[in-house]
Symmetry: C2
Subunit: 388 residues, 2 copies
């Protein structure tokens, strides 16, 4: 299949096609009005309309053509109408490619105070101003329309990983009702809408909710409620069954995931899109992700180490700076330290997905993923978690 | 005069020539083993072997071919011997051009604890580890030799701006004695040495100390003890008399100065080299320096301002980002804010000195400096200080 055979999605200006397949893994091409996005793709997180410490050019240099911004944060500051006045979030931050915004729900639950949820929506107090706000499916769509992202997410309710079955079922029911209200709300021209599947780690619930969400007029289907406290092997087990059954003619997005191991496993199950704060957040703690596992610059072993972070990395940081210098920047609390590690980590995620796409096209994904995970585990300096 | 007519300075590998003159203002060329430096020049400050938040490429793009690092900081962390092991400070931080290191004295007085000064040197406790250390003229030269900078400064004693005449005279005497001991210490091949003139704002003391320091085998002559609390008009008055009498065949360096107004005035008096934390430090507080005065991004007037920081600036930040976005970055405490303003401010200082050099060569420096200062005063958003 090639680019000329792209199929239209629900929303005008959006096209999609599977371009290669290898087992359950696949490559696809998602065309939005602002970008051609090859998947599997990792979307760097630009919470407050800034991928922390990076310029738009640096983010694009990692291969990223789509990033994520958080509706909750931009709604509260600088404000949805203000971003709209300033030309939308992409123009505001000078990012010329595509943008996905979340619904705001996840941050309301994790950051806001005095939350009260009912079928109408979620009332809360801003964690910044203390102001009373109300997030409903309609308000989420309105705010995301002001932000003007390429892809908007429908408001969902995401229960914790350890929630009992009844709680998960109630969240699924509410998420389904909210999805319908979101789709009935005024739509922003040029903005696609992705629905979210809940259901915890119980396969029957996941399949039932997937059937419902996939039946709606959505441009893509996302999996929420993963990496929210459940055992990671449970996530892998459910993904292996669930992802291959997601619609083949729409993008499949695994929200908020994950580690390099998580990406390798989920790509193997057929997931197309990812986002996670891990590469940017861990960078600020001195942790670099590499083809040889995690490098922890806080460890004294790097004090006089003149090697780059990763000899197999082509990023601008690995071309120029030693581990000894990067460690010094962290010790000295110099802003350049987090900045350079962030650049490296995003480059690594871009390269990880690029090599995955290449392996899928060559029909060698399983071997690629197995070898990459083994090499990372062998060299990992942080022996605290065994996964995959 | 052209480049082929450069004269050797005291240290092997260093050459110098005045290349144009306009009143007391002048352009010169200083050649070090690592860089050709056109003056008047502003040296960005890279305290801990990092110009805060900037990569070496970004610093070089502002026109800078020499930066400053602080001996005190690098001596304590990561340590002089460690920097030497790692190839010297330029290689350590991947800065391919020239570097000047200060003597360490200024930071011992401003940062260290339990200082005790006598003719031998200064004993103090590290502000990081609490360790007892002793800074002598010989130790300063040894540490700077380990760092391997192009230009080392001789240890001086810098009294406060309001010090009585007797205290200033005692500091001059000690500075003269320490300068001789520094020059008698083992020298680092390829490293030039600049002496420092003290004397407060009393012209007779400044002339007498200048005569002494200029008589030594130094490659350049620096003025210390300015911008240390004295009234700024007093500094301008002394510079106007003193700078033209400094040796013509050596670089003239005004340490720790200053604002754009300070540079314009001091260049008019014949100063060649400057360093100051102002453009980098003020950037981190949301203050941009522009051809139209200071822009304070903390002011609400910029909330929806889609103009660049300075319409007359060619820097990468002014080409791409609005004041509204930069203000948002500051409000949201995003690292990208200080980073981008720092880049702009260093670009502005580079451009200010470049235009000064051009005006001097054209014989129009007085008019250039007068017009530039007037325009900056007119547009300044921070009406707290009247100088120049």
């Amino acid at each position: 299949m090639n680019e000329r055979e792209l199929s239209p999605l629900v929303s005008a200006g959006f096209f999609f096609a599977e371009t290669a397949r290898d087992g359950d893994a696949r490559t696809t091409l998602l065309r939005t009005p602002r970008a051609n996005i090859e998947t599997p793709v990792f979307m760097p997180v630009g919470t407050q309309a800034s991928v922390k410490s990076q310029t738009p050019d640096e983010v694009a240099a990692t291969g990223a053509r789509i990033i994520l911004a958080n509706t909750y944060h931009l709604w509260l500051r600088p404000g949805a109408e203000r971003v709209e006045t300033l030309g939308g979030v992409q123009r505001f931050m000078s990012w010329p490619h595509a943008m996905l915004t979340d619904s705001g729900g996840y941050q309301v639950f994790s950051l806001a105070k005095l939350r009260k949820i009912d079928d109408h929506g979620v009332s809360f107090r801003s964690h910044l101003s203390g102001e009373h706000k109300l997030l409903t499916p309609e308000e989420s769509m309105r705010v995301q329309a002001c932000l003007g992202s390429d892809i908007a997410m429908l408001l969902d309710e995401c229960p914790p990983g350890a929630a009992p079955r009844a709680v998960i079922e109630a969240a699924m029911k509410r998420t389904s009702a909210w999805a319908r209200r979101s789709l009935a709300a005024p739509r922003h021209p040029g903005q696609a809408r992705f629905g979210i599947v809940q259901g915890g780690t119980q396969l029957d619930l996941r399949f039932s909710h997937l059937a419902d969400i996939a039946s709606l007029e959505v441009d893509g289907v996302a999996l929420g409620g993963f990496s929210v406290g459940e055992p990671i092997p449970d996530m892998y087990r459910v993904l292996a069954e669930l992802a291959p059954k997601m619609p083949r003619d729409k993008p499949r997005y695994l929200m908020g995931v994950g580690t390099p191991y998580d990406l390798l496993a989920a790509i193997g199950s057929g997931i197309d899109m990812f986002d996670c704060v891990l590469p940017t957040r861990n960078a600020r703690n001195g942790q670099a992700l590499t083809w040889h596992g995690r490098v922890n610059l806080r460890q004294a072993r790097h004090t006089e180490d003149t090697a780059p972070l990763d000899p197999d990395c082509g990023c601008p940081v690995c071309q120029r700076f030693t581990r000894a210098y990067l460690r010094h920047l962290f010790n000295a609390k110099e802003m350049l330290g987090p900045r350079l590690i962030t650049e490296h980590n995003l480059w690594f995620y871009g390269e990880l997905t690029a090599r995955a796409r290449k392996a899928i096209r060559a029909g060698k994904y399983a071997a690629f993923a197995r070898d990459a995970a083994a090499r990372m585990r062998d060299g990992d300096e942080i022996k605290t978690r065994v996964v995959g």
